[in-house]
Symmetry: C2
Subunit: 468 residues, 2 copies
């Protein structure tokens, strides 16, 4: 591991953390950072720094980092902007291995003093290999190390998983995390890169590509200072781990004069989307699509072609999904004769037995559903399967048969589903099937279909993009 | 009320219901229909009909409807298709006022016998004013009458509300209902019109326009037999109640030859969308958009213009929403001088104080948030407001101030929000604000922004569409 990687690794996996600006006053961010570390169950040493306190949250508190009798791996800084340069000098003298700088009031403010302070910090830190997350960030979270280095204790409620999120917006990190909590989606790391003193998208992608806990990298960005650096970095890692990105700020907001030129809106969006595609980054256009696609890339194999089969226990959802698949470049395949014969054996002639299959007559019969599903899984024309079933008390027993699939771990084709039921009826079973990596479930057939479209878009990107 | 309306009213508000084909065998639909009626708390008389039983679910059971000593308002029929003609004759002789025909196996099957049976039923029933829902349907639900005339007892879990849903797909009714249960969205009536013997979209729209419990009409359709009839009916009621529609089956599925002509896909979609617009029906293109827009039309005033203000406690969500508003035809207005002065008083210069407003510095301060919100509400340039806040323990107290708005019922502008928090923190407060019709909340800023775009699209339709 080179020095850069090893520095980043220390930043995300510290054995000791000092909170410079820790507080017992709940109106201060230093209070909430302490809460995040302690409630989040960080197993290492937590040291509050505050010259006015002897003890914070039951932990011995020191007046400054300089006076600490221990080594410190990570410093989290929440003091006002004007004090940060001096704190940085102290941190470096103390030999800290990484800094999370939550404090705002640097480059993002109108006052040129902010930019001066930023440059001052950069010149202090860039003589070293010490990576800094921020300034102007909520912080970062490494769920695999139980490290919640942020001012939001609730991030610790997230499940540990393989999605690494790098975001320019703290709001979006909070939003995506709250959505993920409701859907039980797991993350490896969540990083608010803020004003990017020396850790930008490229450095984070570089690190997460080496991070064994991260399988999928999701980016939220509003603007990139050094697009070439990111593009070149990403190309180096082609095919290693999927990268997906959501870019906002494509409209010309607030500029009355150019507002009527809606053509330019699409233009800016397309330029980004094109640059992303050329690098092998899959561009997405809303938080729901970002989270859905990350979840599928983390939990499903990739399709090896564009052929899709839709199996629906009710015609409506199948038809809706077929529209989206066709418009999204997927191929609504014809089944092989063998598959078609098998389906014809199972379903009576009154059902729609070609793709999309209406499994209506098999609504009660889990064996029939599993039989059709297995036939489609084996079909060489089929690269991915969409399965839709609405469960209620009239057919609730048929869901049990689906767990049969749990035993069939050999499947290498994506199975993207919308298994829907009234709250409580089926949530637990779906969760078990997702945890066993048998299927990936979404709340509507259209969301499931769009995910399949995006898996296929990513597959195409990997074929088209040259390695950098 | 004319005969037609009065017949429909009897159908949806019966005092007595007979289940012809009631059963105690849970493998039979007749069992689940009985469960729906009894568990759903229907306050009228429930009479099981089955020649082989004396009692079903504790209720006295009769061998046939003919032998009943009481009058019957509604008959629900779940017997096999071949028996239905005779049952219809019995029902009419008995003087029933409406029929729900759940049985499948008519026009939808390949066998011409199915169409013959359909025609036979039509000729029996069309000498009368008796409306028939179905055949080939899960049934219908009138939540205001606690009538669950379907084979899915869980529909009774839905909240009573003002959205009337008319659907060609039972699967979509189940899906939309399960989604609505999770989001606490209320319905007036849910009707699976199935193969439409004598009650089609036009008849249902006609009835729901007169139904005092219904405020918004949502349609899901795959194909329309008599589009002119629907269009003419809708035009008659212009401006009375909003109608929104989601039409699927626009792709040329399964037709290998025409599949590559993707142009024709868009064409079909556009023809429908154009026809809907001319009638004053708002076209939507997925279940999420259908439900979100129905919820907003049911819970919010309409904007009186296209000017929108975005107030976000974090920059990211505001920027994402601004992109969608601009592309969707909304006008990201400049504030009046009075509003701008007020916002400048509240927010420090380092914040983005123009539209979209970044309320970051007021993140902790509910008085500041309410002050900005009230200024935007009063601004004559602003027709609708998008408000985004992510809450966690660091700022959870600031949400309390928002309930201040509860007292300000005078607001006549839509307030569409994404108030997001970890599960449990804020759900109850959002629900209370929604119930008080103060705001309408969505899980992402993009969904909220798309809803505002759709409210404005509906407003434009009402200006453009001539009254039929």
């Amino acid at each position: 591991m080179d020095t850069k990687m090893s520095s980043m690794n220390n930043l995300f996996n510290p054995e000791s953390v000092a909170v410079i600006g820790a507080s017992e006053n709940s109106a201060k961010l230093g209070f909430h950072v302490m809460l995040s570390l302690t409630k989040g169950g960080f197993p290492g040493m937590i040291i509050p720094i505050n010259p006015g306190s002897k003890e914070i949250m039951g932990l011995k508190t020191f007046p400054s980092i300089t006076e600490l009798p221990y080594e410190i791996d990570l410093a989290i800084v929440v003091l006002p902007a004007r004090m940060v340069s001096a704190i940085f000098e102290e941190c470096l003298a103390k030999g800290v291995k990484g800094i999370v700088l939550i404090t705002a009031g640097f480059k993002e403010i109108d006052d040129p003093k902010g930019t001066d302070l930023h440059e001052q910090l950069a010149s202090i830190v860039n003589t070293t290999h010490v990576p800094v997350i921020g300034p102007n960030t909520f912080g970062m979270i490494n769920l695999h190390a139980r490290l919640n280095a942020s001012f939001t204790p609730e991030f610790s409620l997230l499940r540990k998983g393989t999605i690494g999120l790098i975001s320019q917006s703290g709001g979006m990190c909070h939003l995506l995390s709250f959505m993920a909590m409701r859907d039980d989606i797991g993350f490896s790391k969540i990083v608010g890169i803020g004003n990017r003193l020396n850790v930008d998208f490229a450095q984070m992608v570089d690190y997460l590509m080496h991070d064994p806990d991260t399988g999928v990298i999701a980016l939220y960005m509003e603007g990139i200072d050094r697009p070439r650096e990111l593009i070149d970095t990403v190309k180096t890692y082609k095919d290693k781990k999927p990268i997906i990105a959501y870019k906002t700020g494509i409209g010309d907001i607030g500029n009355q004069a150019s507002r009527s030129h809606t053509g330019s809106l699409a233009g800016v969006g397309e330029i980004y989307s094109g640059a992303f595609s050329q690098a092998g980054i899959l561009a997405l256009n809303n938080v729901e699509a970002l989270l859905d696609t990350a979840k599928a890339l983390a939990g499903s194999p990739l399709p090896n072609g564009s052929g899709v089969a839709i199996l629906s226990s009710q015609a409506g959802p199948g038809i809706a999904a077929a529209d989206i698949c066709q418009m999204g470049g997927l191929n609504m395949v014809s089944f092989t004769q063998e598959t078609q014969d098998r389906i014809n054996d199972i379903l009576p002639p009154l059902a729609l037995r070609t793709n999309p299959v209406d499994m209506g007559p098999a609504w009660y019969d889990s064996e029939a559903v599993v039989g059709i599903l297995q036939a489609a899984m084996r079909d060489e024309n089929v690269a991915g399967i969409l399965l839709f079933m609405m469960f209620a008390s009239a057919n609730v027993d048929s869901i049990k048969g689906l767990s049969f699939l749990l035993k069939d771990r050999g499947q290498k084709k994506p199975l993207i589903t919308c298994l829907s039921a009234p709250p409580g009826i089926w949530d637990e079973q779906v969760k078990q099937l997702e945890e066993a990596a048998v299927l990936v479930n979404f709340s509507t057939p259209e969301r499931a279909a769009r995910v399949m479209v995006n898996l296929n878009r990513y597959r195409s990107l990997m074929i088209e993009v040259p390695k950098g």
